[in-house]
């Protein structure tokens, strides 16, 4: 009986020794890195202590009863630690103080638990009971003791003057030792040593946590390694790298590709001249291809040329791929330094060769938004990061209704790109996604892949449906979902994917984006100084009260419907 009371006292004193530490970890919704593994181990040890005490007390109570005594009252041992669920909204980071406290708690547990466990073992053995619960309690203490020094050392290395640590720094650096040897880590290690095949594999991955992981990995690399890696072809497209690094790497790669293609073209031209009529058809095709690729490179160079000139912000080349329908992502302004980042997702028939107009749309939106944004810095991105359907004949609807499969694939790409922006962007940065026509469907589907985390605000113009039936399904609040209406946009030709977002039943906020009052050839939502562009900028800037409203008494001057350059 005395043994029972002694163990009961130890239980009361020690059963909750790892509770506080567990609560610290439970207070954050961990995504990625070793943190979830550490949290799981910690939780396991915490529970094991309580189970061990429970078992020890049950065994001793049984012994008491066997010796003729009354059933002793067991103290309540089991405690609950509730897990905080992930919340939406800005995530400031992990409390440095809390992390320091965690390490201290582990130290204390390391000191107290082995002794308590030894005591329990002794008490159990003395009464002829199995001593294993005592070993379990001691083991939890020993585990805590092995964790604390490593965590203390890592924490000293990453902590800053601010009271908050960036979450990916905590997840990957502080708890980096707990990550299992998964593919991305192996690939990253190989990329760090310059392995191009590993880079190719890494670039093909779309894990939600990958961009954060890349970000943490990049910042741990020595400067000399970073410098060397910017010359690894294709690395500029890796989501999670700082925007400036992506730009530097992509421009170097673009220049290298240009040199390579020019040399090939020269060679091919040489061969052609030599062989003339005997030239194999295959080399003709290759020559045409080389020519086309070089023209695309010229287009990219032209589009970037305005960057930094005449008051324009720097133009950052965040991604490009010359093959297939192509990839091209250009940001006007540095998204890592911006307060507001707006990403424009284009629609049907967009492909690399014709993307110059879209890059220009992002540029004029930058102008309109930045001019009116006061002190806040704007970055405006043109994102050709997916394969839009290429329809032969948009004017012949039955033959060419697009499926939503490209949008599904595009959504995965957009989500991964958005992860990259957030991994490297500033705290408190505001993200706006502007989807045009089919691009609005891509945007809506991407929103479902990252509930509440793709963007703070959605704007859809010329939309055939965004993949959800109600604005609130996009998980940012219906008041943050905007729908631009232009009755002249030939969207009706496409049929609908989901409910028309301009419908009252969709619940989005409709704003005027029409050019029906001013008819000009090729006019559209991005016409400079048009009410439409002004409203896009107002929404981008969060200046909802300054949205401009059309005067409805104006008649259209001409009857010609608007034909857009792309939909």
């Amino acid at each position: 009986m005395e043994a029972f009371r002694a163990v009961a006292a130890l239980a009361t004193e020690h059963a909750a020794d790892l509770d506080a530490a567990t609560r610290v970890m439970a207070a954050s919704a961990w995504v990625g890195g070793g943190a979830p593994h550490f949290t799981a181990s910690l939780a396991t040890h915490r529970t094991s202590i309580q189970s061990a005490f429970t078992m020890a007390l049950a065994a001793l109570a049984g012994e008491v009863v066997r010796r003729g005594g009354p059933t002793p009252a067991a103290p309540s041992i089991a405690t609950q630690v509730s897990i905080v669920s992930a919340t939406h909204g800005p995530f400031r980071g992990i409390d440095t103080q809390a992390m320091r406290g965690l390490v201290t708690m582990l130290d204390q547990a390391a000191e107290r638990l082995p002794a308590a466990g030894a005591r329990v073992r002794a008490l159990l053995s003395a009464t002829g009971q199995p001593a294993s619960p005592g070993w379990t309690i001691a083991a939890a203490g020993q585990w805590s003791g092995t964790q604390a020094p490593d965590l203390r050392r890592r924490l000293a290395r990453i902590q800053r003057d601010t009271p908050w640590l960036p979450p990916d720094s905590v997840a990957f650096d502080l708890f980096g030792g707990y990550a299992t040897a998964t593919d991305p880590d192996t690939l990253l290690a190989k990329v760090a040593s310059g392995d191009p095949a590993a880079l190719t594999q890494l670039l093909a991955r779309r894990d939600p946590g990958l961009a954060a992981r890349v970000h943490a990995w990049w910042h741990r690399l020595p400067a000399a390694v970073q410098e060397r890696l910017t010359r690894l072809p294709g690395i500029g497209s890796l989501n999670g790298l700082p925007a400036a690094t992506r730009d530097q790497a992509n421009r170097a790669f673009l220049a290298a590709e240009k040199r390579r293609l020019e040399a090939e073209l020269e060679q091919l031209t040489g061969i052609l001249e030599d062989l003339s009529a005997l030239a194999a058809p295959r080399s003709l095709i290759t020559r045409d291809q080389a020519g086309r690729l070089l023209r695309n490179i010229a287009m990219i160079e032209r589009a970037l040329a305005a960057g930094g000139r005449d008051g324009h912000p720097p133009a950052l080349l965040l991604a490009f791929d010359l093959h297939g329908t192509g990839r091209l992502v250009v940001s006007w302004g540095d998204p890592d330094a911006a307060d507001t980042i707006v990403t424009y997702v284009p629609g049907l028939n967009t492909e690399l060769g014709g993307f110059a107009g879209d890059i220009d749309r992002a540029r004029v939106l930058w102008q309109q938004a930045q001019a009116t944004a006061g002190k806040r810095a704007i970055a405006s991105i043109a994102w050709l990061g997916y394969d839009p359907p290429q329809l032969e004949n948009l004017l012949d609807p039955p033959a060419s209704v697009a499926s939503d499969a490209p949008a599904e694939r595009g959504a995965v790409e957009l989500a991964a790109f958005s992860d990259g922006l957030r991994a490297t962007g500033g705290e408190g940065a505001r993200y706006v996604v502007l989807g045009h026509s089919y691009g609005s469907l891509v945007s809506g589907k991407a929103a479902l892949l990252r509930p509440g985390r793709l963007a703070d605000e959605f704007v859809f113009v010329g939309s055939p449906g965004v993949g959800v039936e109600h604005a609130r399904d996009l998980k940012v609040g219906a008041e943050r979902v905007w729908v631009g209406e232009d009755p002249n946009d030939p969207v009706a030709m496409l049929g609908r994917f989901t409910r028309d977002p301009g419908d009252a039943g969709f619940g989005g906020r409709v704003f005027s984006a029409g050019s029906r009052h001013v008819v000009q050839a090729h006019s559209g939502y991005w016409d400079l100084h048009s009410p439409s562009l002004r409203n896009l900028a107002r929404i981008t800037n969060g200046q909802y009260d300054a949205i401009i409203e059309p005067h409805l008494d104006i008649k259209p001057q001409l009857l010609m419907p608007q034909i857009r350059s792309s939909s």
Binding site: A371, V518, H522, N541
Partner: protein
């Protein structure tokens, strides 16, 4: 893109599909844009100081070839109206509106509930006109030519 417009023009033979001002050169358009802004600013009391917004000087492509080479441009200018007290913005907007209407321009849109924003189209040549409010209480006047 460009060949589309051509197809549209052939099937909808209603109006001319070329520029509405086929004879306007960029130089002429710049003169017109500057005139539209300055004439407006000249009517404002107290008269503001005009400060050019630099990136608005770049002509904006409004049509591209299949290769992405810009083929047609709009000409633009925007000027900050400096020296307007922040409590006078609505008054300035009213003056701008009065002037545009007096010139025969059309007001196509305006800001809500006391916001000084205005949008218009010039008569007779359909230049886009804009009076725009910026965060911090500044106003700018802008004009843009049709696609030339």
């Amino acid at each position: 893109m460009f060949r589309w417009t051509l197809a549209a023009c052939l099937t909808i033979a209603l109006v001319s599909c070329t520029s509405e001002n086929p004879m306007t050169t960029q130089a002429e358009a710049v003169n017109r844009v500057e005139e539209l802004i300055r004439k407006t600013a000249d009517t404002l009391r107290p008269p503001p100081k005009l400060e050019l917004i630099p990136y608005t000087v770049t002509p904006n492509p409004c049509a591209f070839s299949a290769d992405g080479v810009p083929e047609r441009y709009t000409v633009n200018r925007a000027y900050w109206l400096r020296g307007v007290p922040t409590d006078q913005l609505k008054r300035v907007a009213d003056q701008v509106k009065a002037h545009w209407l007096a010139e025969g321009h059309v007001i196509t849109a305006s800001g809500r509930a006391g916001h000084p924003d205005l949008a218009g189209v010039s008569h007779p040549d359909n230049y886009t006109l804009a009076l725009v409010w910026a965060e911090g209480g500044s106003l700018y006047l802008a004009a843009t030519s049709p696609c030339l």
